[in-house]
Subunit: 317 residues, 2 copies
C-alpha cells in the first residue's frame, strides 16, 4: 500500500530518484539545497547535538519577493490602485487630487515615485472603515482572479514553486510556519490558506488600528496603521505573535534584515533569496543591498533564482 502510494507520487510529481520521492524537486541540486536539507536533518533527528524540540520549530517567511513576486510594484499596491479605479465613480474629486489622479490616469512616472505616506493615503481611502472580512474577500479575489500587468498571469500563479515546496518540507518536519510580512495583515490573510496552506493565525503583517463595530459582531479596518511590520518591528511582532525566536528564516530584502539577524543569533538557519534572474523573473538588488552584503559576510545561505531554482513560478515559466 505504501509502495503504491510512493509510485503514484512518483508518477504525479515526475520527481523520483531510485523510486523515492525527491524532496524540494524544483530546487537545483547544489550547495543551497544541500544546506537546507542538512540543517533540517540536524535539528529534527533525535540524538543529534543540534536537535530542536518540536515546540521550538518555528519558521518565518517574508512574503513579497520571497513567496511571490513583487515587481513591477508590490501586488498589494496594485490591488489598491484597482480599488481606486473601481471606487472612483463615487469620488469625482479624485480626478483632480493626487495621488488619486495619478492612479486614474495611470501616471506611472508619478506612481513609481510614490512614497509610503501617499500609498497609505490611498489604502486608507479605499479600505478604511471596510469590514475586515470584506477586505479579505477582496484580496482573495484579487490574488486568484486579477492579472499581473505585463505577464498576463494571475498573481497566484506568480508564487514561487520552490518556496511552496520549502513550506511543505518544513511542515513535514513539524515546523510551524509563519508568514511575517511588511504587507497588510488582512491582505495576506485573504489568501494565505488556499495559496500557502498557512492559517490566518500564522500571518503576521502590518496591522491597522481596527474598530469593533456597535453590532458587537463586526470588525472594521482603521484608517491608520498601528504597526508597520518592517525592520526591527518584524522581530518585535514575532515576539508578540509567536513568543519565541525562529530557527528558520527566509527573506529577500533589507526590511528582513533584523528578522534574519535575530534568527541567526539564535543559531537558526537564514536563507536570503536573490533576485538575479532577469530572464525568468527580475534582476535587481535595489532594497536588498545591505541584506546581500550581510549574507555574504556572515555566511548565510543565499538562494539564487537563476542558479538554485529549477523552476520559479507555480505556473509554467
Amino acid at each position: 500500500m505504501r509502495l503504491v502510494g510512493v509510485l503514484i507520487a512518483c508518477v504525479l510529481l515526475s520527481a523520483c530518484v531510485d523510486g523515492k520521492p525527491q524532496v524540494l524537486s524544483s530546487w537545483v541540486e547544489g550547495a543551497t539545497k544541500a544546506a537546507i536539507i542538512d540543517f533540517v536533518a540536524e535539528v529534527t533527528t533525535e540524538g543529534s547535538p543540534y536537535f530542536v524540540p518540536v515546540v521550538d520549530r518555528i519558521a518565518v517567511f517574508d512574503h513579497d519577493g520571497t513567496l511571490w513576486a513583487e515587481r513591477p510594484e508590490y501586488f498589494q499596491f496594485l490591488m489598491i490602485y484597482e480599488q481606486v479605479r473601481a471606487q472612483a465613480v463615487d469620488h469625482p474629486e479624485w480626478r483632480e487630487e493626487q495621488p488619486f489622479k495619478a492612479v486614474l490616469e495611470n501616471d506611472t512616472a508619478y506612481l513609481d515615485g510614490l512614497d509610503y505616506a501617499a500609498a497609505r493615503q490611498l489604502s486608507a481611502a479605499v479600505s478604511g472603515g471596510m469590514k475586515t472580512t470584506d477586505y479579505m474577500a477582496l484580496s482573495h479575489d484579487f490574488a486568484t482572479r486579477s492579472l499581473h500587468p505585463g505577464s498576463n498571469a494571475r498573481y497566484a500563479d506568480l508564487r514561487y514553486l520552490p518556496m511552496l515546496e520549502l513550506l511543505e518540507y518544513l511542515e513535514g518536519h513539524s515546523f510551524r510556519v509563519f508568514i511575517v510580512s511588511g504587507g497588510d495583515m488582512g491582505f495576506i490573510r485573504g489568501f494565505s490558506e488556499p495559496l500557502y496552506g498557512v492559517s490566518r493565525d500564522r500571518v503576521v503583517g502590518s496591522s491597522r488600528s481596527n474598530m469593533f463595530a456597535d453590532d458587537s459582531s463586526t470588525i472594521l479596518r482603521g484608517e491608520k496603521y498601528a504597526s508597520m511590520n518592517v525592520g526591527a518591528n518584524k522581530v518585535l511582532n514575532i515576539d508578540l505573535h509567536i513568543g519565541r525566536p525562529p530557527v528558520f528564516a527566509v527573506g529577500n530584502s533589507d526590511g528582513d534584515l533584523a528578522m534574519l539577524t535575530y534568527t541567526a543569533s539564535h543559531d537558526g538557519f537564514v536563507l536570503l533569496l536573490s533576485h538575479d534572474d532577469g530572464e525568468r523573473e527580475y534582476d535587481y538588488i535595489s532594497g536588498a543591498e545591505v541584506a546581500l552584503q550581510t549574507a555574504h559576510e556572515k555566511g548565510w545561505a543565499i538562494a539564487s533564482m537563476r542558479d538554485d531554482f529549477e523552476r520559479i513560478f507555480v505556473r509554467t515559466d
Copy 2:
C-alpha cells in the same frame, strides 16, 4: 492494540463507562456537560447542518478565574508582590514610597484597594527592561513553585481540572485553542505549554511596548502596556492574532463579555463559569454581574462550580 490502549486508559483514569473512556470525567452529568458535548458533535460531524470546517474551529479561553483561580488576588499581582519583596534590597526608597511600602509591609487593606495604575507601576518597576525570556522563566517558577496564600497549594495545583479536560476534548476534535486573557502575555507564556499544553503563539494577553536590544538577539520588556487585553480589546486582539471569530468561548467575568458576545453573534458556543462554590473554591459574583445577567438573558451555558464540577482543582480538593 487499540483495545489494550483503551483498557489502560480506563485503569489510569478510573473513568470508563461500559469499557469506553468517558469524556469530561470531572464534569457532573447534567445539562451543561450535555450542551458542550452536543455542540461539539454538531460542529464536527460531517453532514451535520452545523458542521464547521477544521480551519474555523477556534476556541478561546479566558485565564484568571476561568482556567485557574483568581482569589484572593490575581496570581500575577502576587508574583509582582513577590518580586517587589525580592528586589527591595536594591531599592531602599521603596520602604517609604507607595504602593511599594504597602507590599513590603503586607498592608492588605491598602493592597485590596490597589487600582490598575498602581499595579502597573509595580509591574513596570520590577519587570520593565527585563529580558522577555527571563520574565517567562520567572513566571514559570512562580506558577510551579510558589505557594498560594491560605491554601498552601502551588498555583499550578489551582488549575481547574474540568477546564483542562475541556481543552483536551476540544483539541481532540481539531479545535485550535487560544488563551485570551487580560493578564500579561509574557506571564502566561511562561507556563502555558507545560500547564495547559497551549503553545506560546496561542496565548493572547496584555502586551508591553517591548524593545529590541542592541545585541540584535534580545527583547526587553517595555515599561508600559501597548494593549490592555480586556473588554472590546479582547475582540480586536482575537482578530489581530487569530484572524477569525471563535466558535467556542469560555470566560468568567465582565471583562470577557465582549469576547463572549462576539462569539455568540457568530453562532459560537458560549460558556460562562460561575464561582458559586464557597466550600471548595470561592463564592463571588463581583466583577461578573453583567456577564451573568447577559448569560441568563441570552441562554448561554453556565458552568456552576458547585453543581457542574465533580472535582475542581488539579490537586485533590
